[in-house]
Symmetry: C2
Subunit: 497 residues, 2 copies
């Protein structure tokens, strides 16, 4: 079909531009020297503008309109066209000027955040983030929304997500998790002091690479580098980059950032290259993306079978530090549940309180009930309320995350959704894969990876998040899978009744 082919060719060129922007972004966060920032911001802005122009091109719109009505397309083709048409109509709402301005503001905001975090001074970040919030409010107006302006932004990361549903979800989470965390707090605590001894950076790095290889992350189609905040980015399914950070006196930081980003990376590497640039070559949503990283990070990577497979190797790297730590002590130590300041170092239970704070801030920023200058106070107040802790430095408080500097408002809730999807998927993986725990205990991750490839990765956007969940598990997202997983696991670790 000629029309479908020219649609495909157009999308492929747009993807070339978008993946190029990803290269610029990757370099910016890994290797770019400091003085390069301003021209890089300008370059990203120009490329974003060109990309936007291509994605709202009139010819493309007419092609999509015709293809959308065509009866000659197969199921996959129809799905591609359907999603592309939706994207097209969404993109048309943006002016090129807005896209370029947003891109430029983002780069500047990111640079400011890096400095602000380093100097732990929110005032460096505030003027840039104020501009960003203003633009995001404008964006919500441009896109249109029902009920709450935040819904317009949420929908970009997790199609269908909205304040009404999330309010209920976070209420459930709070009600069920708060009690559980209290029970844990009353129980006998386990020490993780071993994780804060001195761990040589190079050895940590090498162990992280071992873990990625064991997960079958393909190093011929990817690589790992260092950045301030770990992330995954993709330039095609055949070039997927992950980053990590290595802290000398915190073994946990490197290990679970590697496994987490590795999970994202496997999803990207598992997308079909034949669908390059098309919706069926893309991840479903950020929530589903996060389900892949969380499943590996938590359900697999913080599990006992995983450490039965890997603890001896870790002890081999660090005999001095770990010789007197038994596997049981290690397992309990890495699964401490304890309210803390830093989201990415939080345990998998109290983690969702961190998201809750950010969710409330974002909602308030979007409806104007809080202003940027008041965020440090707002932040600490809410941390006190939900986690019982408050930051003494902005770098450990409101400045800790990269997301807002990127203009990613509406992104955080997908982290919680990701964990809940992960628990549900992993429950069914355990049911369907014969001897899954035993495979993991032997360090054989292939059965699980193949299951994920088959059930999730290879489909790209063929299913929506809700449909995929049904396709994989036979039912819609259900918080009980996470709650059951947490209850079962931590009742054993903390010896609860």
């Amino acid at each position: 079909m000629k029309k479908y082919d020219s649609y495909k060719a157009k999308l492929s060129k747009i993807a070339d531009l978008e993946y190029t922007l990803a290269v610029l972004g990757w370099d910016q966060e890994t290797y770019m020297p400091e003085k390069g920032a301003d021209f890089r911001a300008q370059q990203i802005s120009t490329l974003s503008g060109i990309g936007h122009e291509m994605s709202v091109e009139k010819d493309l719109g007419e092609l999509l309109k015709k293809l959308h009505k065509s009866k000659e397309l197969d199921k996959k083709q129809s799905r591609n066209v359907e999603e592309s048409y939706k994207d097209y109509k969404q993109s048309k709402k943006y002016t090129t000027e807005f896209v370029e301005l947003l891109s430029k503001t983002t780069s500047e905001c990111f640079q400011a955040w890096q400095k602000a975090k380093q100097q732990s001074d929110f005032k460096i970040f505030a003027p840039h983030f104020t501009k960003m919030v203003k633009l995001k409010r404008q964006e919500a107006e441009m896109l249109g929304y029902k009920k709450h302006p935040y819904n317009a932004l949420l929908d970009q990361y997790e199609p269908g997500a909205n304040v009404a549903d999330l309010d209920i979800l976070f209420k459930d989470v709070r009600e069920q998790l708060v009690g559980f965390v209290k029970k844990i707090a009353a129980a006998k605590q386990n020490s993780d002091a071993f994780a804060h001894k001195h761990y040589d950076k190079d050895k940590q790095w090498n162990f992280g690479i071992d873990l990625l290889k064991q997960m079958h992350y393909d190093f011929e189609a990817g690589r790992q580098d260092i950045s301030i905040h770990p992330f995954t980015t993709s330039f095609s399914p055949l070039d997927v980059r992950v980053t990590t950070k290595v802290i000398e006196n915190n073994l946990k930081s490197m290990i679970w950032s590697c496994i987490h980003e590795g999970g994202h990376g496997l999803y990207e590497q598992g997308l079909p290259a034949s669908q390059y640039g098309l919706p069926l070559g893309e991840a479903v949503s950020l929530g589903i993306h996060e389900s892949q990283s969380r499943l590996w990070e938590n359900n697999v990577g913080r599990g006992l079978p995983y450490w039965k497979a890997n603890y001896k190797k870790l002890q081999g790297y660090f005999p001095e530090q770990l010789k007197s730590v038994t596997l049981d002590q290690f397992y309990k130590g890495i699964n401490q549940v304890k309210p803390s300041l830093i989201r990415i170092e939080a345990d998998e239970v109290t983690y969702h309180f961190h998201i809750l704070v950010r969710y409330e801030i974002e909602k308030a920023l979007m409806d104007g009930s809080v202003e940027v200058k008041d965020l440090p106070a707002f932040w600490n107040e809410h941390y006190k309320k939900y986690l019982g802790v408050s930051a003494t430095k902005d770098s450990e408080g409101v400045l800790q995350d990269i997301h807002w500097s990127h203009g990613s408002i509406g992104y955080f809730p997908t982290y919680s959704l990701g964990s809940f999807y992960a628990a549900q998927f992993f429950y069914f993986a355990s049911k369907e894969i014969k001897g899954l725990q035993q495979h993991i205990e032997k360090g054989n991750m292939l059965p699980l990876l193949n299951w994920l490839r088959e059930k999730i990765h290879k489909h790209g956007k063929f299913y929506s998040a809700a449909d995929l969940c049904k396709h994989v598990t036979g039912e819609k997202l259900n918080f009980k899978y996470f709650m059951n997983y947490a209850t079962d696991k931590y009742s054993v670790i903390y010896n609860l009744k």
Copy 2:
């Protein structure tokens, strides 16, 4: 002036795209995983096409035509417009299809060359390079030329260069250098065995970084990485990247590639950021660019004063290997003149025979008197003739250089031009900078760098190569400066009469 501003804005956007292409190229040769190659080639091709479309845009052409006649521009503005208009008319000769095809072929050819070199098998490279040569012949026809199709390509790298002049130049070079090299061959030889002991890679790397810092290469506006073939690339004057390669049993390779690329890097960092995207923000020509790398590499970096400054530090890194090598032995060892196989490891005298071979091959490829499949034989025959050596492996022969895989035919002669310009510039630098040798002996490179900044770097393309040479030295390029430099230096080293 409104017209000038909109010209400037357009050029700036084109530069954003071109520098982005440079980022893609840098990543391709430093960090990109193997499987990423195909999509990267496609991405580069798409971006090249877009860049080309922007550079031949009708509005830009009309703007340039008007500005070209304007009387309101100052000298610098006029010069920018003059060069841009020339570029515009040149670009108009290319079709977008040709640009995209050339870009795609280049990426594939580069990938094939990497494999071919690794396996030392010219047959892997031949079909891709055959396509490339065919495209290059087409390109010459598209551009137009007088007398020889090779002239069209030469002019792209060194405006004004042509076969007639180069034939005479290389004849002079041959006549004057051949006799001199024979005299040297008959003299007592110095050993460089010390350079082929085992040198730890990390220590070599650190010493290379020291040298770059001493040259005042700005690491806040650049960085060094590893690649198969060292190169310099720029994403703005504030983000200039150099690469090197480190070989354990060849100390020379790393040292002089660092100094060489550092020289290129200093030129790029010295271009005025205010002229970003405009001719006055760009290097004059490849010959002038090479004069900057050669001046640092040879006239400075292989000189006795330079090693008076740095030899103790080098011995400090490698006490075992160098404790019994005196400065005099080191200086003579690193300045061995001896015909050899590998261009980038050749001494600064026989080097020009390497260029001669490539020059003759390129001429022959362009006028069709040799075909790609016959290159290995042609290569070895000519190496035998001029250098008295011939390669036993293609990787050490016809496959040794990256240039042809990039489609860079017409590039090599600029290396010899660069050396000759360098000798002439350095002669005048030594005359004009009080105590230059003493500064260098103390490791103080700033007086020389400031002289280069002032005389050459800051002007961008304000002068043509010929005019710049006159501006800096009061006369046109004259081979005698190189010949005198070589004669003076090597008569002492080899104790010639």
